[in-house]
Every structure is written in structure tokens, then in C-alpha cells.
């Protein structure tokens, strides 16, 4: 994946997503929700290209269903659209459902982007200097899991070849027993191996002195600039929210604060990764055509 924002320092990535997801979870004002969803969708598509279509369709479907379901459980509201099983189905509840679903949609989209950008190694690098032991622990688990999965498959294969495998059509009890035997064998293998790992750590000086942490990611001038812009925009959004620009009440009737500059700042904040992405793509094209 060639994404400019993904190449930024993990701290920049992390803070951005915390901002985006927390704002997305709090802000229910329809304008903010719309901006959050659209910006999230734009970056999601930029990151995942054709692979974005299917999950996005599913998320949208979920949101639509939840929107439609909300008025069934919530009968408050002034404008009754129709009656369902003798209960009123109101316009306000529908709008409220739409806003809540939008909030969920925003969070899902930004979490999807988070997972694509902030990979496991960035996460551990981020906490490497603050929580060295925990960060090392995470790295070790990340190292061991694929290893154990491979060993587990080996055990399953080896047992099959001596007539101890479980068939696909075996009853559940037999499958469970077979699985637990495999699991038990894998546990032994992993635990015995871990003694070697501990030896290897100690022989390379683990615990001899206070650990330092090798930083593979370095904070560059661009990172600092992006971070500054991010913080400034977020400050504007918070100010706007504190001034009541995002105030909204859905029931019994819709009252929303008028759309103002706060939404623009919010949009600008959320579009930062997409802008960086676009800028880099453009520069690449220009520099290529220059040759």
C-alpha cells in the first residue's frame, strides 16, 4: 500500500485516529455525522481500493436496517408516518435512528482505516519507550502466534498420517477430543520452546540494565507539520462544540444548531490523510512527467 499518511510517524497516526473516532462517537449533529461518514468513506476507499466495496456495502446495509428498526422500539416523536402493529412509527425516531446509525458507520469506517494504517509493529513502536515491558510482550506474542499456528497445522497433519486424524464428518464429541489432544501437544511444544526463548533473551543481556528502545520510525519535519495542523484543527472543533455548534435534540422534535464554521474545521481535520495521499500521488505524477 502506498499511502502518504501511513508513512507518517505512528504517533501522528495514532493521535489522528483517536481524534477521529472519539469525535465520531460523540458528535450526533446530522451535519457532523454526514461529514464524518463521507470523509471516513473517502479515506477508506483510498486505502483499500477495490477491496473497500464489499465491507462498505455491508456497513451501509447494517446502518439502513438499524435506521429502520429504531422507530419500532422508540415511539416518541410528533410526526407519525404510519402505524406498525398498532404502534406509531415516527419521523423523528427515524431521523434519530439515522443519526445513531451514522455514528456507528463513522466509527466502523475509521476503525477500518485505523487497522490498515496502524499495523501491529507501529502500535508496539509507539508504546516501546513508554511501556517497554508490555511493548516487548506484545512483540513476542506477535512473533509466537504464527509460529504456533504453523506447529498446530503440522501436528494435525502428522496425526492424520498415523491414523489419528479426525474426519470432517466425525461427531462433535470426537472432533472436540481430537482438537484438545492437538491443542495439548501444541502447548507442550510451545512451553518447551519458550525455555529456549528465555535463554536466548538472557544470553543477549535482557534484564542486565534498563532497556532502551530502537526507534525504527523517526519524527520528520513533515510529521511535525501534520501534527501541528491536526492539533490546531482539533482545537477549533472542540471550541465549536463547546460553543454549542454541535447541539442537537431529536425527540420529541428535531432541533439542531445551525451549520457553522465548526463543521468546516471538522471536515478539514478528517480530510487530512486523504489530502496527503492526493498530494503525494500528484507530486509523483509531476516528477515523472518532468523526466
Amino acid at each position: 500500500m502506498n499511502d502518504a499518511f501511513s508513512k507518517c510517524h505512528p504517533l501522528v497516526n495514532f493521535l489522528f485516529f483517536v481524534g477521529a473516532i472519539v469525535c465520531g462517537a460523540i458528535l450526533q449533529h446530522p451535519a457532523y455525522v454526514a461529514v464524518g461518514t463521507v470523509c471516513g468513506a473517502v479515506y477508506y476507499v483510498l486505502l483499500r481500493r477495490s477491496k473497500a466495496v464489499k465491507p462498505m456495502a455491508l456497513m451501509l446495509l447494517l446502518a439502513l436496517v438499524m435506521t429502520a428498526v429504531n422507530p419500532v422500539f422508540n415511539t416518541r416523536g410528533e410526526h407519525v408516518l404510519f402505524h406498525l402493529l398498532g404502534r406509531p412509527y415516527t419521523q423523528e425516531a427515524l431521523v434519530y435512528g439515522a443519526a445513531l446509525s451514522g455514528v456507528l458507520l463513522t466509527m466502523l469506517l475509521w476503525l477500518g482505516c485505523y487497522n490498515a494504517v496502524l499495523t501491529g509493529d507501529k502500535f508496539t513502536a509507539l508504546f516501546g519507550s513508554i511501556l517497554p515491558a508490555i511493548s516487548l510482550l506484545l512483540v513476542m506474542v506477535l512473533r509466537m502466534v504464527p509460529n504456533l499456528m504453523r506447529k498446530t497445522r503440522q501436528i494435525v497433519g502428522a496425526r492424520r498420517c498415523v491414523g489419528k486424524g479426525t474426519m470432517e464428518d466425525a461427531p462433535t464429541g470426537e472432533k472436540l477430543r481430537g482438537g484438545v489432544t492437538v491443542l495439548s501437544a501444541m502447548t507442550s511444544w510451545a512451553l518447551e520452546g519458550s525455555i529456549v526463548t528465555a535463554d536466548s533473551m538472557r544470553s543477549r543481556g535482557y534484564g542486565a540494565t534498563r532497556r532502551s528502545s530502537f526507534m525504527i520510525y523517526r519524527m520528520t519535519g513533515t510529521d511535525a507539520l501534520v501534527l501541528t495542523v491536526m492539533v490546531l484543527l482539533l482545537a477549533v472543533v472542540i471550541t465549536a462544540v463547546c460553543l454549542g455548534q454541535a447541539a442537537v435534540a431529536f425527540l420529541p422534535h428535531l432541533t439542531a444548531a445551525p451549520v457553522s464554521w465548526g463543521v468546516c474545521a471538522y471536515g478539514a481535520y478528517l480530510l487530512l490523510p486523504a489530502v496527503l495521499h492526493g498530494k503525494e500521488a500528484l507530486q509523483w505524477r509531476i516528477s515523472r512527467s518532468g523526466i
Binding site: N74, L100, S101, M107, L111, V141, L148, T166, R177, V180
Partner: protein, 233 residues
């Protein structure tokens, strides 16, 4: 220890009330955010305590390998809904005590989501699993949990039914974009009940079959490590 006690006090008397106050001030529906914030504040002292102990290589490796086993265990079983993960976590707690049990649970939840993608439920899962490991360790330390297959299985079943499942249900309740009232709460908890029963039976079955052998293996490793540590000094 003093430092982590101070942090615990700080969390309970300052940070959690602050989070609650903040939650009330936030516009709109902010149950999820407030609760998540409180969960994170509970998790932090545990992590700091672990960090402050400056764990030895052995301790670190044991926690890591237990987490890895808990995560990788789902490959071993050819049954879709039976996940032995929680059982492994609780057995870790029983064998190595409350703190290790908690760490194994919390880290397992965090790292397994590195593989399937982090979700809004990650901190909740960390809390649920961590507490399950801690509780298993606590009951075992107090001698209330005999190391008999049936006792382990029962404990596993109720730990999932009464704690892990409901906590995750609360998370999905807070996340579901729907007005929270008696009807919706009932709907969510009922739909969660089926999953919880399956999960709890999975945990119970794993505890029943795997409990004793796994505890024996862990004991063997403790002896082997003990010998190794003797040689170091």
C-alpha cells in the same frame, strides 16, 4: 508496589469520577465513550504494575507463550464456535496467579485483535478476559477452586455466562444505534444469550478435557524454569 497503589487510588478516587463527570457533560449519547474511558482507567494500573515489576525474561516469556497459545488455540479445534481461548486464560490464572492471569487475558484480547482487526470492543474484551484470568487465579489462590475437571468446567461455564458474556453484551448494547429502553435491553441480552451459552459450553468442555493436562504441563515448566533460574546466580 507503593507507586502502583498510588496509581490505583488515583484512578478510583479521581480519574473514574472525572470520567463520569465528563461523560455527563458530553453532548448526545456517550455511554460507550464514558464506559470505555473507565475501562481503560482500570486497565492502566495493572499494566503499570507489571511494568514496574521489571519482569524477568522467564516471566515475560511465560506470559507471552500463554497468550500465544490462547490465540493460536482456535486453529486446533475444527469446530467454529468452540473457542478454547478463555479456558486457556483461566488456566493460566490458576497456574500462575492473579496478576499473570490478568495480563494473559488482557494481552490475548489485544493481540488477537491485531490479527482480525481492532474494533470498538477491544478494551472491553481486554477487561472481560483479563478479569476472567484474574478471578480464576483468585479463586485458586483462596483454595475455593479445586483442580478437578468438573470444578474447572463449572467455573469456566459460569465465568463466561456471568461475566465475560454479559460485559460484552453491554458493549454491544452501547454500540447499537438504538434507543436504550427496557425492550431493547431485553432484545440484546436475549440475542447474546445464545452465543454466550455456546461460548460457555466451549470453555467448560475445554476446561474439562484440557484443564488437568495443561496444569500439569505448566507445573513441569515451572520446575524446569526454577532449575534454570538457580543456575543464573
Amino acid at each position: 508496589m507503593k507507586k502502583s497503589t498510588a496509581v490505583t487510588l488515583l484512578v478510583f478516587f479521581l480519574l473514574i469520577p472525572a470520567a463520569l463527570y465528563l461523560g455527563l457533560q458530553l453532548p448526545g449519547r456517550s455511554y460507550y465513550l464514558t464506559a470505555t474511558l473507565i475501562i481503560l482507567e482500570i486497565l492502566v494500573p495493572f499494566f503499570l504494575a507489571f511494568e514496574g515489576r521489571r519482569p524477568q525474561a522467564r516471566e515475560l516469556v511465560v506470559v507471552a507463550v500463554l497468550c500465544a497459545i490462547a490465540i493460536a488455540s482456535r486453529v486446533a479445534l475444527p469446530l467454529p464456535h468452540f473457542k478454547p481461548t478463555i479456558a486457556v486464560i483461566m488456566l493460566a490464572g490458576i497456574a500462575f496467579g492473579t496478576e499473570t492471569g490478568f495480563m494473559v487475558g488482557a494481552i490475548t484480547a489485544l493481540v488477537s485483535n491485531f490479527f482480525v482487526g481492532q474494533g470498538a470492543f477491544t478494551p472491553w474484551q481486554m477487561m472481560a478476559y483479563g478479569a476472567a484470568g484474574l478471578a480464576a487465579g483468585f479463586f485458586a489462590q483462596k483454595g475455593w477452586l479445586p483442580r478437578k475437571p468438573w470444578a474447572l468446567a463449572l467455573f469456566g461455564f459460569f465465568a463466561v455466562m456471568l461475566w465475560v458474556g454479559p460485559l460484552l453484551d453491554v458493549c454491544s448494547l452501547f454500540l447499537t444505534p438504538i434507543q436504550i429502553n427496557r425492550q431493547t435491553v431485553t432484545a440484546i441480552f436475549t440475542s447474546g444469550l445464545v452465543v454466550n451459552v455456546v461460548q460457555a459450553s466451549g470453555a467448560a468442555a475445554t476446561m474439562l478435557l484440557l484443564g488437568r493436562p495443561l496444569l500439569e504441563k505448566l507445573e513441569r515448566i515451572q520446575i524446569k524454569y526454577g532449575m534454570l533460574s538457580g543456575g543464573a546466580h
